[in-house]
Subunit: 315 residues, 2 copies
């Protein structure tokens, strides 16, 4: 089982290779929230998301001479992060991507230096494709979240936040597969037993919420939510950490997610992706508790800007 | 005439009252630009724009007991900044706003505590309204840019940037009325005679460009540009500083402005208003020179988010 000391070791290992992202505040947001809120800006991380931390923590523990190729399946930030980390380490990355992923995302992963392998949509098709490739060529699988090294790496964001703002009373992150919330819980509880760790999920992809409440890991099949990073279901290792270390899991609606994205753009002038807006929405709905010093990990900032007309043409 | 020492004095005066905004960089942007670029994030200033610096520098030199009321005409960031600064100083602000201003902007100035006085559009109508009000009640006029105290206050952003990155070779800001470029030139040339100061303007509101080239101050009547903060023409004091201290004025197209706004959102995850994107666009077009260490003052981040559909509804 991963422990606090693994997060500390990961921080030392990846420190020279990742961005120590800013912790930002906004007087306007604090006034709106009624309490001081500290944002750990992983949207400013290499690749635009916290995922680079976990990927780097894995690859720095591999020897490129022995393990020249890494592989994963992800059309999103993890695929991109692994591609970038592999390039930085002089390794090759193969990323299995469902055919229905956006052209922009596929292009970004390719631009980051990975070989793309297309598959049909859905987890079974991804896993078949993975087995197919691994039967032909050796490669190290780097799972997006259900991996102790990934979890420890993701926890380094919270470790940095807490080293700068040690008296936080609550820390919250979104919950997808559970790499970020798992690592954050390890970091936070390792630094202080008093801090509350709260996971935030879309109502429409509430597998972790259901799992947390029932005590049994549950999965959802292709949930629909604007928070595209949170559509996957919580992993085995991740659920164990959730059950053991996380104080609560709360959910928010799609409209609350979009409104929170807008509030962050207005008050902090920061672009965050819908997944990152989920704990912000929970905060604004009072679900992280009132009159506390709150820390939120803004997990990423990769948004399809073609949906934004003021950026498309001239006046 | 304002001097470098006025900027230094302003920095000392307003320091405890304004945000010392972050200087941000992006590896992705540097790769795109081909040189290191340092962004001074005045979009993170109180009120979302550099204007709060100048306003505070004026109001801190007034005694609220003797001068309980200040007045200006501005539907934009200066009106908002003066309202906020007046409230912070325990003074009252009157802001003259043209009837055709957006409801959102008027509401923001009112929310910041000012009394709104509506007038017809156009500079003559504004000035008539101003004279009308001043005939009835005493108030101190705080001009948006043609005021030595305002110019010195705006220069403190560049002073902070240069104190953190002293070896910049080029510094650039947008040019509207010329408060920001004037103060920036004073700060930059005061710190180093070698640094080049370049103003950037929309092609469609190129009064400062024309004035700089011809050596005579020129004004334009209601120019059309998406960069709403740069529609005004350069002031008398401001032109004098431009002529004396600024090395060049360059222009960019409307399409280049929108593209630069998008690049900053993508690479830096920062929301900037179109006016702020003007020097970024000049940079990307190679108009600030190549292979230099460049500093850009991101002047503000107030954008009408209702134009952005991904922030309007749910998925």
């Amino acid at each position: 089982m991963t422990s606090f000391s693994d997060v500390v070791a990961a921080a030392g290992r990846i420190g020279p290779h990742v961005v120590r992202t800013a912790v930002m505040r906004s007087a306007a947001f604090d006034a709106r929230a009624g309490c001081p809120v500290f944002f750990k800006c992983e949207n400013l991380q290499t690749g635009g998301a916290f995922k680079y931390r976990g990927a780097m923590n894995v690859l720095l523990q591999l020897d490129p001479a022995r393990t020249p190729v890494v592989i994963t399946h992800s059309s999103g930030n993890h695929g991109n992060a692994l591609a970038r980390a592999a390039r930085a380490r002089g390794m090759r990355a193969i990323v299995i991507v469902p055919r229905d992923s956006s052209r922009a995302k596929i292009a970004a992963i390719e631009a980051a230096g990975a070989r793309i392998e297309l598959c049909e949509p859905g987890l079974p098709a991804r896993e078949r494709k993975l087995a197919e490739i691994l039967a032909q060529e050796p490669a190290e699988l780097v799972h997006p979240f259900d991996d102790d090294r990934i979890i420890a790496g993701q926890g380094t964001a919270a470790l940095e936040l807490l080293s700068e703002v040690p008296d936080l009373e609550v820390i919250s992150t979104p919950v997808g597969g559970g790499g970020l919330i798992g690592g954050t819980a390890l970091a936070a509880k390792g630094m202080s037993s008093k801090i509350r760790v709260i996971g935030a999920e879309p109502e429409q992809a509430d597998d972790a919420y259901q799992s947390f409440r029932s005590g049994e890991r549950r999965a959802l099949n292709a949930p629909q939510t604007i928070a595209d990073g949170l559509r996957g279901s919580i992993g085995v290792r991740n659920f164990e950490l959730l059950r053991r270390l996380v104080d609560d899991v709360v959910t928010v609606s799609e409209a609350e997610i979009v409104a929170a994205m807008r509030v962050v753009l207005e008050d902090l002038k920061l672009l965050i992706e819908p997944s990152s807006a989920v704990p912000v929405a929970a905060m604004l709905a009072g679900k992280l508790g009132r009159t506390a010093r709150i820390g939120i990990v803004l997990s990423g900032g990769n948004v399809d800007l073609d949906l934004c007309p003021f950026l498309r043409g001239s006046a």
